[in-house]
């Protein structure tokens, strides 16, 4: 009995120690970063020697500042999402609503594999496609913003597909079957009921994908990021990005000023990623709230049917009324 007591206490103590060790290491890493870098966070870190307003509105070149890298990252994230969202959402809708049997299983396997491929391999793929096109299509193609964004789009594509699919599949049957019971077609059900319902969960996944695009370094370092390019001017040119800047500084810094800007860049990237992450969780928390608030569902669905474009509303309304008169109140 005593032995058992001792054994149990050891397990409890070890478990607490593990948690403390983990929390301690994270606190040390973040604390060290803030301790070293907080002092460098100011306007000069971002804008260098250029006046902020002139840099933003007059397009004056920024030297010794992080602005080009920040704008480069922003351009990269937006461009990658422009490619990834339509394809990913469409594929996700297919998987949730149309996909059946063996074909769906194969797709699912392929998306899982795509999600697991190390980002550096995706980068190598993007790089070799660029070189291949350079040799065979046009001499003007070489690793650039467009190639990097396309590669990143492949990296986050499986996330967007999965979140779309899961968001649609987790809609309760009661909501899923309401509109078809009122005579809505499958397509009307998807576009007026299911998609609006899944929107916040999908948004949360997309925001997480943004975070991944913003923090990834391995893909872009092979597909066109450079240490100094200035503001991104064309999608066919090289560009700067925050994560690569941090990597570059850690390996190539020449004086303490550059090193300090590396710490500053690391803090800024950390803040951006945490904000995106927090946003995703905020959206998701709201989404779970709407799901538990069942009583509001009926009203929302009828509102959505009423908001449909006129020609569709007509048919929906007719069906709505016939259902109501025929079988009592369904809604």
């Amino acid at each position: 009995m005593v032995m058992k007591r001792v054994k149990e206490s050891i397990i409890v103590v070890l478990s607490w120690l593990c948690s403390l060790l983990l929390a301690g290491s994270v606190a040390t890493i973040i604390g060290y970063l803030l301790f070293k870098g907080l002092a460098t966070i100011n306007l000069a870190l971002i804008f260098g020697d250029t006046a902020p307003l002139e840099a933003i509105f007059l397009g004056r070149q920024v030297f010794n500042g992080l602005l080009p890298a920040m704008v480069g990252t922003l351009a990269l994230v937006l461009l990658a999402l422009i490619f990834a969202i339509p394809l990913g959402v469409a594929a996700g809708i297919y998987m949730a609503e149309y996909g059946k049997g063996r074909l769906k299983g194969w797709f699912s396997l392929f998306f899982d594999i795509l999600a697991s491929i190390p980002s550096i391999v995706v980068g190598l793929f993007g790089f070799s496609v660029a070189v291949f096109l350079h040799h065979n299509l046009s001499e003007r193609i070489y690793p650039c913003l467009l190639i990097a964004a396309l590669s990143l789009a492949f990296l986050v594509l499986p996330y967007i597909i999965r979140t779309t699919q899961v968001a649609l599949e987790s809609i309760p049957v009661t909501i899923r079957q309401t509109a078809p019971a009122l005579g809505a077609t499958k397509l009307q059900n998807i576009s007026h009921v299911l998609l609006p319902h899944a929107l916040s969960a999908m948004m949360s996944g997309i925001v997480l994908a943004m975070g991944r695009c913003a923090e990834d370094t391995a893909v872009i370092m092979l597909t066109g990021v450079v240490a100094s390019a200035g503001m991104p001017r064309s999608i066919f040119a090289g560009f700067e990005a925050l994560p690569f800047y941090i990597y570059y500084i850690s390996a190539q810094y020449s004086d303490s000023r550059e090193l300090a800007s590396g710490y500053g860049a690391a803090i800024i990237l950390l803040i951006i990623c945490i904000m995106l992450f927090g946003l995703a969780f905020y959206i998701k928390a709201r989404f779970e709230l709407t799901f538990t608030a069942r009583s509001g569902d009926k009203r929302r669905i009828s509102q959505r049917i009423m908001k449909a474009p006129d020609r569709r509303k007509k048919s929906l309304k007719v069906n709505f009324q016939t259902e109501q008169s025929g079988q009592g109140t369904l809604l």
Binding site: S15, L22, A23, V121, S128, C273, F277
Partner: protein, 285 residues
């Protein structure tokens, strides 16, 4: 064709394009790496040293580097994650458990390059002075940092599978007079083994696929490492270090062999996890 059918076709097309991208990455790697996979280079590729000056493009030391770093990091991270998830799911009071869970979620938001950056300026000097061996950039350094990087992956999956254990089982243990540790050892852990294996495999995949940490703190030397305090280069780091623009050289072709190897290893892990879920009926992660 009606509009509804047209849209269904378009959605199918999107899924097909996405699925084909997986295949096309594989095909690209195979085709471009073919010259070094055939023509008698194959055994040399897997077992030989990396010395481009002598025309030998072996990636053995990168394979060894990748495997040692990722398994060592798993060795550090697994007990750490198991302890933390036990605390979150079973032992801690509500407030502490929630705070720890938030911390773990927060950790998944920290960019890898930030870990690497802090690692270079904080951990590398510590390792250098502690062991007085080389530059401080070593397998051990990378494995320690990676352990922190992959822990959240494991913890979130572990906690999730612990919480899936049916409540009635736990009540049964309590009714028999068992303590919470009895619940843990005799019910919760045995019940959640598929989740634990899934977490381990996923974390291994993350460790093996990570580029920035090993690139930044493992030292990248091409020799075969003799101890965990030696500097080493991983498969991912090797790809990340390409400087040669000579697309047709064998030196460059060897990168595709590295890429192919990484692709195959992570795909095998995916298949393992999927079959595990299929058999155990565990739902998503």
């Amino acid at each position: 064709m009606t509009r509804a059918r047209l849209i269904e076709r378009a959605l199918l097309l999107a899924a097909t394009v996405s699925g084909l991208s997986t295949v096309s990455i594989f095909v690209f790697m195979v085709i471009l790496g073919l010259p070094i996979l055939t023509a008698g280079h194959f055994s040399e590729l897997l077992t030989g040293p990396w010395s481009p000056d002598h025309g030998v493009y072996g990636i053995r030391s990168m394979i060894v580097g990748s495997l040692t770093i990722s398994f060592l990091s798993l060795l550090f991270a697994f007990p750490l994650s198991l302890g933390t998830s036990v605390l979150i799911a079973v032992l801690a009071p509500r407030g502490v458990a929630l705070a720890m869970k938030r911390l773990v979620r927060f950790m998944t938001a920290i960019p890898t390059v930030v870990y690497g950056f802090v690692g270079i300026f904080l951990l590398v000097p510590i390792i250098r002075e502690l062991f007085v061996h080389g530059s401080g950039m070593s397998i051990l350094t990378a494995a320690l940092l990676l352990a922190i990087l992959i822990s959240p992956t494991m913890i979130l999956i572990f906690v999730d599978s612990f919480e899936r254990v049916p409540r009635s089982y736990l009540t049964a243990v309590a009714a028999l007079g068992g303590s919470r540790i009895d619940k843990l050892i005799h019910v919760i852990l045995p019940c959640s083994w598929p989740g634990i294996v899934t977490g381990l495999v996923l974390a291994l995949g993350r460790a093996m696929g990570d580029t920035m940490i090993s690139l930044m703190v493992a030292g990248n030397s091409v020799g075969l490492p003799q101890s965990i305090l030696d500097s080493s280069r991983t498969l991912t780091g090797h790809i990340g270090l390409i400087i040669s623009a000579d697309f047709d050289s064998l030196e460059f072709k060897a990168l595709f062999a590295c890429g192919l190897l990484l692709y195959l290893m992570t795909s095998i892990m995916v298949v393992i996890i999927r079959s595990l879920h299929f058999r155990a009926g565990v739902r998503g992660w």
